[in-house]
Every structure is written in structure tokens, then in C-alpha cells.
């Protein structure tokens, strides 16, 4: 059988979380993994460490400790200012060989997946992608990853019992961030990065990062499917009225009616709003997983047999085009009564 570069007998009982950050801010998925990692570390008595790679990133160490880590490893270098998979995989690989963590977690983001995919091959180890839950078998120390299969209600538990590190990418939004934790007095270790320009083949010609929409933590989600026929205006008005955001199923995204970052579900965002309002959505399973964490689901669909109603608390058989304007009117009128 294929052997990993380091094995079980050489591992350290460490859960290492890769901390992704943009413009000086830590990505939510990294904080979510720290919260889950803390829980696993407390169960096993292992150490939880955060790994921050970048340039001028010292200031992020405190936030990593405040979110539950026992220690932080900083890899600072001017050639790491922007993510390139060449430079980042080189640095993270050498840190992994020094530290030999039992578990290494990354967010299932564009860069997280790039990095994880290359490192798993370089380390000759297993990689569980886009995990929706993580557990450690307390008898064996083996990480059990939950992965949801094929747009369906099937969950697979996958493990890599004899290869190290046990790698997984975690889907954004599946774990919640435990806030108001006392900062742990962990060690901040500055890793000595050895990197030169010749090791980087990728050139960044241009980079545009606009204001991003983060649907994972919105209080109200107004989502539209094929049934809104590409007309999202009424949904945006309703979302604004309720202090929420607009999301969509895959077809309107594929058809270019709405940005891909607003896609909800298995290949999109998993949200946990207090309220989700589904407009003209049939209810395919790969969408429904994206709203399963919603406290209350309201659905409006003209087809009385639409599967979405099974996944809804309040169901309206009707046309979105007539229900939404009427609803908007009532909400506006009620608002005037309160504030008028």
C-alpha cells in the first residue's frame, strides 16, 4: 500500500487549522474550524494550533488565540503577500514535515482546495473534501469525516486510518463560531520561511476583490429559483425590508441572472438564517441542504406538489409575482404603524 511521507508512529497529537485571511481579516470558515477544532481538542486532550501564512500577518495571531487555539504558527515572508499555490504549498509542506500534526484542516475555498489538493499528493496522504462534520474516534485517534454524497440524503463517513496527516477541507458555514471565549495564553511561533522568487512560477497580473456578500450568517434569506424567471427585483426589495440578503438556486446562477456567490446549497453556500423565504424553488435536494439550518422556512411555489413544501414550515401555493408585492405592501404598512 502507498505510504505517506510521515506515518502514525511519527505524528504529534496536534490538530492544525490553516487560517485563511483576506485584507487583514480572517475568513469565517477558518474561525468555524477553530471552534470545531477546540471541541475536538478538548475531547482528545490534543493541541489545537492555527497556521497563518502571509506577509505582515503578526496581528492576526491574537484573533487565532481568542478563537480557541493553543498556539499559532506564523509564516511571514514578502513573497507570501498574495496567495500563489507554488509558494504557499512549499512553505506549508515544510511546516507540516516539522510539526507532523495528526490532523490538518483547511477551508473548502478556492485557495484552500488548491493548496489541499497539491499537499495531499506531495504528502502521499488522504484528503476528504468539502466535509460537513468532523469527529475523532477516541479509541483510535482516527478522524472521521462526514461528506454528503451526490445531491442526495446520503452521508458517507470517510477516514484515512494509517496515513498522516489526516487532511480535510471543511465546507464554509457548517460549524458555528463560538464567541466570547477568553483568549488562551498560547505560544506564537514565528516560522523561519525559506523561499526565493525562482520557486514561484505563478504571476499575478491583476486582482480585483470587490465587496463580498457573505450569506452564511445573514439573519434573513430570500432565495429564488427557476420560478422567478430571472426577475430578482422583488426579492431584493423584500430582503432589504427584512434586513436580509438574496440567494438563488443553481439554474438562475448558471443562466447569469445572479452572481454565483449567491448560490445556495451543496455546491454553494450553506446558510443558517432565522428565516428563509423560498420563491419559485422546486426543492431539489442539493438546494435544500443549504437551508436545512434555517430556523423557519417559508416557501411560495405555484406547483402544489413541489418537493420544497416538504422542507418548509409555511407553504403558499401561489404565484411569486402576486404574493411578493402583496406581502411587501403589508410589511410596509405595518412598518408605518410602528414607526409612523
Amino acid at each position: 500500500m502507498v505510504k505517506s511521507i510521515y506515518g502514525v508512529e511519527e505524528e504529534s497529537k496536534i490538530i492544525l487549522v490553516y487560517i485563511e485571511h483576506t485584507k487583514g481579516k480572517i475568513e469565517n470558515v477558518s474561525l468555524e474550524m477553530l471552534s470545531k477544532g477546540r471541541e475536538l481538542a478538548d475531547q482528545t486532550g490534543w493541541e489545537l494550533k492555527g497556521l497563518v501564512v502571509g506577509y505582515d500577518v503578526d496581528s492576526l495571531a491574537t484573533a487565532v488565540l481568542e478563537n480557541g487555539a493553543d498556539g499559532v504558527i506564523l509564516a511571514n515572508h514578502w513573497l507570501l503577500e498574495n496567495f500563489t499555490v507554488d509558494a504557499y504549498s512549499h512553505v506549508v509542506y515544510s511546516i507540516l514535515l516539522d510539526l507532523k500534526p495528526s490532523i490538518f484542516l483547511l477551508g473548502a475555498t478556492a485557495n484552500g482546495r488548491d493548496l489541499a489538493g497539491r499537499l495531499a499528493v506531495r504528502l502521499r496522504t488522504g484528503l476528504n473534501a468539502d466535509c460537513t462534520d468532523l469527529n475523532i474516534n477516541l479509541d483510535t485517534g482516527v478522524l472521521v469525516c462526514e461528506v454528503s454524497g451526490f445531491g442526495s440524503g446520503i452521508l458517507a463517513m470517510i477516514e484515512a486510518p494509517i496515513h498522516r496527516p489526516q487532511m480535510a477541507t471543511v465546507r464554509p458555514g457548517v460549524f458555528s463560531i463560538q464567541e466570547n471565549r477568553l483568549a488562551r495564553s498560547g505560544e506564537v511561533y514565528a516560522y523561519k520561511v525559506e523561499l526565493n522568487k525562482d520557486q514561484i512560477q505563478t504571476r499575478i497580473i491583476e486582482q480585483i476583490i470587490a465587496e463580498e456578500v457573505d450569506l452564511t450568517s445573514v439573519p434573513v434569506l430570500v432565495a429564488g429559483g427557476r420560478g422567478v424567471s430571472g426577475n430578482f427585483e422583488a426579492l431584493y426589495r423584500l430582503a432589504e425590508l427584512l434586513g436580509g440578503e438574496v440567494g438563488a438556486t443553481r439554474p438562475p446562477v448558471d443562466d447569469g441572472y445572479i452572481e454565483r456567490e449567491r448560490q445556495i446549497g451543496q455546491t454553494g453556500v450553506v446558510c443558517s438564517p432565522q428565516l428563509a423565504i423560498c420563491c419559485g424553488i422546486s426543492g431539489a435536494f442539493h438546494f435544500v441542504v443549504g437551508i436545512e439550518k434555517a430556523d423557519i422556512v417559508i416557501s411560495i411555489n405555484s406547483d402544489p406538489d413541489a418537493p420544497i413544501f416538504e422542507f418548509s414550515d409555511y407553504c403558499v401555493v401561489g404565484n411569486v409575482d402576486s404574493v411578493l408585492p402583496a406581502l411587501e405592501e403589508v410589511l410596509l404598512a405595518n412598518k408605518e404603524v410602528v414607526y409612523g
Partner: protein, 265 residues
Amino acid sequence: MGELHIVVCVKIVPKPEEIRVDPETRLLNREGVRSEINPPDMNALEMALKLKDEFGARLDILSMGPPSFEPHLRAALAMGCDHIYLLSDHAFAGADTLATTYTLAKGIEKISGVDIVFLGEESSDGATGQVPPGLAEWLNISQLTLITDVNVDLNQWVVQGRREIKGGYEILEVPIPCAISVKTAANEPRFMDFSRKDWAFDKGSITIWNASDLCVEKEYIGLPGSPTIVSDLAEASVRERKNIFIKGDADEIARQLANIIQSVI
């Protein structure tokens, strides 16, 4: 530099819209389900075909699976590809990402002289997106992932790609050879060229390689080459919902909905 040599990696998957979940057992019912080229791979194929249109190129398909995949792959010949390589051996079965990327890499090495490898963003039945970077790593070449648009500079021998990232995009440049994963729905895949159809399905050239043809190391393929094991399958717990139907005319429905909404938020 000679002619550009492109390989598109293609997976044959069951059609997602034909897969049903048995409501009782909650298991996938694959009975009578037809197969197709993984839809994201069609976007990779289209991007490669556009480069062939622009520069002229040798364009090959590489796939892994049983010989029964052959007719599905022939559709790619009819779209404009030149040759098919199918890696087929019982010893390849049960491969996870590590073993799959290793086997594909050995296939690309055996094809030899490949400049650009195109792949879909992810497979519709696995959806891990980990094959493109893994393959690039085995081949020790650069990668561009989630690319929506590509430019090849044959003088500088580099590729520029527009990569989708959270909240925006970036333009990246890497040297050739490289692996490129194409963002799903980045383009509109073309139909089969009917003038190529007879050739594609009758004569069109296809090469099938087994494990010994590829000179693979046995412990790197199939189950032995796969560190991950599925230890358990479970039903996804479906959250209980109230399923209350609200009836009445639009105004009455709106009034009730507003009350519900205002009690929730």
C-alpha cells in the same frame, strides 16, 4: 515550438437528473440511469476546442473507467477532438483522489509531450474539486483553477487565465506545461459536428491502456493506492418542518405571512 498538444481529462458519470433517492431506504437508485460526460468537463472540453480553433492543436481525451464508457467518449471526437485514451483495468477500481490523480498522471506521461491539461472544476458525482491540483502535483507542473477565460501566448510559452475567487477575480499567468481547471458554466459547450459523427462513432481512434501498459507502481493504484476508506454510510437527517399550508387570496396570504415573519425576526 511545434503544435500545441492539449489533453482534456473527462469523467463519465451517471446523469444526475435521472438519479432518484429511494424514499424508503434513502439509497441511490441507479437502475436504468444513463451515463454522460461529467457536465463540468464539457466546459473544459469547450475551452480546449476554442484553443484548437484559434491556434490549431492536437486535442486528445483522457478518461479512466470500464470499456463501456467508450461510446460516451466518442461524442467528444464528434465535437472536434482527435483521439481518445481510456485507462481501463480492474486494478484501477476503487481509486480515491490520490490513486486517481496518480493514474491520470501516468496516462499523461505515456501520451507524452502534453502542453496543457484541461479538467472540469469538479465531478457531478464526487464534487471534491481535488483532482486538478492533485494531477498538477504528480506531474510537477503549474496549475490554474476555476478559470473562466484563457489566453495562450505561444511566443512567451505562457498561459494567462481569469480565475474566479470570492468576491472577484484574478488574472494569473503560468508557464506551459500546466493544468487548468475550468469553472463550471464558464462557456456554452458546442454540439457535435455532424460531419464528424460517422467517423467519430465508427472509425474514430481510441487507445485503451491497462495497468501494465502504463508501467504504474501497483501500490499506487486502485484500492492499495487510496488512503481513504468509507467506514460508514448514513441517512442525512431531514429536519422536521411544520408543513402548514396558508390559504386565501393574495392579500389574506400576505397578511398571514407578514404576521409569521414579524414573529420570527
